[in-house]
Structure formats: C-alpha cells, structure tokens
C-alpha cells in the first residue's frame, strides 16, 4: 500500500517490521516540516509579524485537525512530547485530588509509561495500585469488583504493544464512570491504526504519540474532556501558559494553553497535521483492514513453522519466540538479512514475567508493509530454525 510515499523505504533496502516502535514517515510530512523551517520558522503565540502569525495559525489548525480526527474539541487537545509525557502530565496533575488509600486500577499489560508514573506517585502518596490480570489468550480478565468507590482512576492501554490485544474499553470505562472514577486510555498503538472516537468510547483522557502514526517524533497528544481540563492544575510552569504574572502570583492561561508551557515543537505539530491528512486520504478503515490481513497471514505462517505466538494478535503487532534462542539473537540474525524487528522486553517487564519469558521477538506493521515483507521474514526465520537445529539448541 503506497510504499513509494515513504522515502526511507526507497532509500534503504530493508524490510521494516518495527512500526509499533516508530513508523516511517511519508514525504509530505517531511516536506511540510521542511517548509516550516525554510519559509516561516518563528515562535508561536508571540510575534505579531507575518511569519509568526502564519506559524501560529498553522499550529492552531493542526490542533483542529487532531480534534476532528478523534471527534473532540480543539480546546480539548494538548500538545505534549508524546504518550509518556501525556501520561505523566495526568499522573502529576490528578494525584493532588487523591487521598490516602484511594485506588488506581491498571493492568498487567501496561507499557512502562502507563505504570511507572502511577507506581511512583502512588508510593509517595500512599495510594493503592490494583491490576487487571490477563488470561491465557492475552486478554484482560476484567472483574467489575476491581472497581469500587475508592477507585479514583482507571488507566488502561487500548491495544497492547506486545500482544496486539484490543481491549474492550467501552465496557470498562462505563464501569469506571458508574463508580465515579476517571478513565484514561493509552492510545499509542491504536490511534492512527483504527477509528478512534473519544465520545463513542467515552474516555475522559486519551494519550498518543505522533511518531507511531506516520507523523514526526517529539510530539504527542493528550485529549481531555473540557470540564476536567478546566479544573486540573498545570504540570509544567513557565512561558506561554500564563495570562498575568507578578512577582508573587500568576494567573494561568486558558485551556489548552495552560498545559503547554514553553516553546512547543511547532515543526512536528505541523508534520502531525500532514500525517493525519495523509491517513484520512487513504482511509483509516482501509489501513486497519490492510494491517489485520497482514497479521493474520503472518500468524498462520509462523504457526506453520512451529513458532510460538503470544496472545491472539489482531491489529498490527505479533510477538513470538523461537525455543532456546534469545530474542536479541533472533533480531540480530534477521538484521543480517536486512529485516528489522524488535527483540526484548518491549517496555513491558511485568508482562514478560507473566508470560514467563525474558523477552519476545515482535513484528509490527503499518500501511507500507506488504505480503512480500512477511515472506522474506518467514524465509529468514526458517533459516534460523535450521541453524538452531544444527547447533542443537532448539526443538
């Protein structure tokens, strides 16, 4: 699907199968950023000269584009550095409202970025962490009793970056709201890969990263419901987030700027806008269908080779292991065939423990991948299996 739009894939003879770590970028994204730096690079919200106005307008148009993409209001879109910063912003800002012995519910399949901030702040404030366990199929084993009137925050990953599981968010979000808790969604692997409508999912907050959805690095989004953002305290203080400052007092800016202290990454915001336009042009449903087909095809081929696949991969990622071989060795060997996959703990050490492994090999796709990429992977894996057998280290 439109591989030619991606200059890196034309320039390097590689099979890129690590899009869940970061996706490649289409040339229109790169050009839009280049255009900013070569034609109207200037700071936003400050200058009254033409190029600064142009930069500000483009920056705010990007906010509108992101809002429309997830069915939110522009004032509900905060630009951050990425999912990690979005989740930290929430943790630091929301923790003030929690009391000792209140509870936060997470799951065993969270990325470290949706675990460590909560874990560290919970420890400091004597707040209890609870976890939804996962079952043999790599799905959340959700019991409504996990949420009670002490639960103040439920924060979950939408699509697991290891298992590819798509969690049933609506059901759990409803349960959280019924008991008066806030619901936060980590959309790092879902936004840009399937249609996301924050109203339909009814989540209070959504965090995601531009670089995993064909956009540039260094920019991400935090969506929050207007009324919640209004009452929350900012996480970073400084320029741009203020209305009035005296030596001893500050009146903060309106939402969303209240949460965007300092000079933002304007070029990347403009690149993200282009990425969304590109996705819209192709159609998110077609992208989803394409990736799902590749996943299904790959899982079948892996199983035919007798390779163990974890969970029930659906959307865009597949994790597997070759018996007796460390995932880093498998990825190094594949690299010799110019195949790029990820090997390791995937920033999910607790999940690795649950799966009783030190790490996994992970293959992930985006719209530029083709069946041919999978065929090359399978061929190389077959050679690795032969090598392993010859050396007596695998089944």
């Amino acid at each position: 699907m439109r591989k030619d739009d991606f200059p890196l894939l034309k320039n390097r003879k590689i099979v890129y199968l690590d899009s869940a770590a970061t996706s490649q970028k289409p040339s229109i994204v790169i050009e839009a950023m280049n255009d900013f730096y070569t034609r109207y690079n200037s700071n936003v919200h400050r200058g009254v000269y033409s190029i600064s106005e142009e930069a500000t307008l483009e920056y705010e148009k990007a906010r509108e584009k992101v809002a429309e993409f997830i069915n939110a209001l522009p004032s509900e879109i905060i630009f951050t550095r990425g999912t990690t910063e979005s989740l930290n912003l929430l943790a630091y800002s929301l923790i003030d409202d929690l009391k000792e012995n209140d509870e936060i519910l997470l799951s065993e399949m969270e990325h470290h970025s949706n675990l460590v901030p909560w874990q560290q702040l919970a420890k400091k404030n004597n707040i209890k962490l609870k976890f939804i366990h996962i079952n043999k199929n790599g799905q959340l084993d959700f019991d409504p009793n996990l949420i009670n009137n002490k639960t103040k925050i439920v924060s979950l990953v939408h699509v697991s970056n290891v298992l590819g599981t798509i969690n049933d968010i609506k059901k759990i979000a409803k349960e959280a709201h019924d008991k008066g808790a806030l619901f936060i969604l980590d959309g790092a692997q879902s936004v840009g890969h399937m249609k996301i409508d924050v109203k339909d999912l009814d989540v209070d907050f959504l965090a995601f990263s531009s670089h995993k959805m064909l956009g540039p690095m260094g920019i991400g989004v935090l969506y929050g419901k207007s009324d919640l953002l209004e009452t929350m305290n900012p996480f970073l203080y400084g320029g741009d987030m203020i209305k009035q400052v005296s030596l001893y007092e500050t009146r903060f800016n309106d939402v969303p700027w209240k949460f965007e202290a300092g000079t933002p990454n304007v070029a990347s915001v403009i690149g993200l806008k282009k990425a969304i336009e590109y996705i819209n042009e192709i159609g998110i449903d077609d992208i989803e269908k394409h990736n799902r087909k590749l996943v299904k095809y790959t899982v079948e081929k892996l199983k035919k080779l007798g390779i163990k696949v974890y969970g029930t991969p659906k959307l865009n990622v597949i994790s597997f292991n070759i018996d007796g071989m460390h995932p880093h060795d498998v990825s190094s060997l594949l690299n010799q065939n110019r195949i790029c996959i990820r090997g390791g703990h995937m920033c999910c050490m607790p999940l690795m423990k649950k799966l009783s492994v030190n790490g996994v090999c992970r293959v992930s796709f985006n719209l530029y991948n083709e069946k041919k990429d999978v065929d090359e992977l399978i061929k190389a894996l077959n050679e690795i299996l032969i090598l392993a057998e010859k050396n007596g280290i695998a089944v």
Partner: protein, 129 residues
C-alpha cells in the same frame, strides 16, 4: 547463516563456570535494561586472586558467551589485574565484534565484575561505565 553465531554457539549451549558458588566472598548481580538480561556472579577469593567464579542468569548468545569466556579468563588472576583492564582489553579477549548496540551485552558481565571487585575493596565505582 553467520559465522559469529556458529562460534558463539559452543559457549552459549555449554557455558563454562555456569552456576552459583555455595562458598563465596563476593556476590554481585546486574542487568541490561535493553534486553532484560541478568547476570549473577559469585566469587571465591584467595590472596586477592580469583580462586573460583561462577555466573548465572538469563542472557542472549553474546552476553552468555562473553560471561563464559570472561570467567575462564579471570580464574586465577589477581583482582588488581582485572581492575586495570579496559573494556577494549576485554573485547579483544572475547574475540568477537558485536554491533554498536550489542557491545553492551558483551560488556555486561565484565563491567559487573569490575563493580563487584570495587565494592569488595570499598572503593568508589564512579569510574566504571
């Protein structure tokens, strides 16, 4: 597929000095955040020399084979001599040249060993990378 791996395989499949000493003077563990590899050394000293050493832990072919080669090399040597060795010295002994990211795997055990000795000697460990 690749010569390096074929040669490493011997140490990977059949690592030397693998296990945990019951009677030891030094015990040190470390891990590699990149891949989650873990290493545990137990060391028995005699006259400031390494009388016996064992390693255990889960690791990739590079970390496991380097630990296997490292423990073979240091057995019988004085701890001062080991402290004087640089990373490059060890990589020469190891004999394989892993890619830039994976040099960490090859050095995990060597650096942990140096830290363990410094800790044992009550010396600051700030100069170990």
């Amino acid at each position: 597929m690749e010569l390096l791996y074929e040669e490493l395989m011997d140490h990977y499949k059949d690592p030397r000095n693998y296990g945990v000493l019951k009677d030891f003077d030094i015990k040190e563990s470390d891990s590699n955040p990149l891949c989650g590899d873990e290493i545990l050394f137990t060391i028995k000293l005699e006259d400031e020399r390494i009388k016996d050493i064992k390693f255990s832990g889960a690791g990739c072919a590079i970390s496991r084979s380097s630990d296997s080669i490292l423990t073979e090399y240091v057995k019988g040597r004085s701890i001062n001599e080991i402290l004087k060795m640089s990373n490059d010295d060890f990589l020469k002994i190891y004999g394989f040249k892993p890619s830039a990211m994976r040099v960490k795997c090859a050095l995990l055990g060597f650096i942990a060993l140096k830290k363990a000795i410094l800790r044992y000697l009550n010396q600051p460990i700030k100069n170990v990378p």
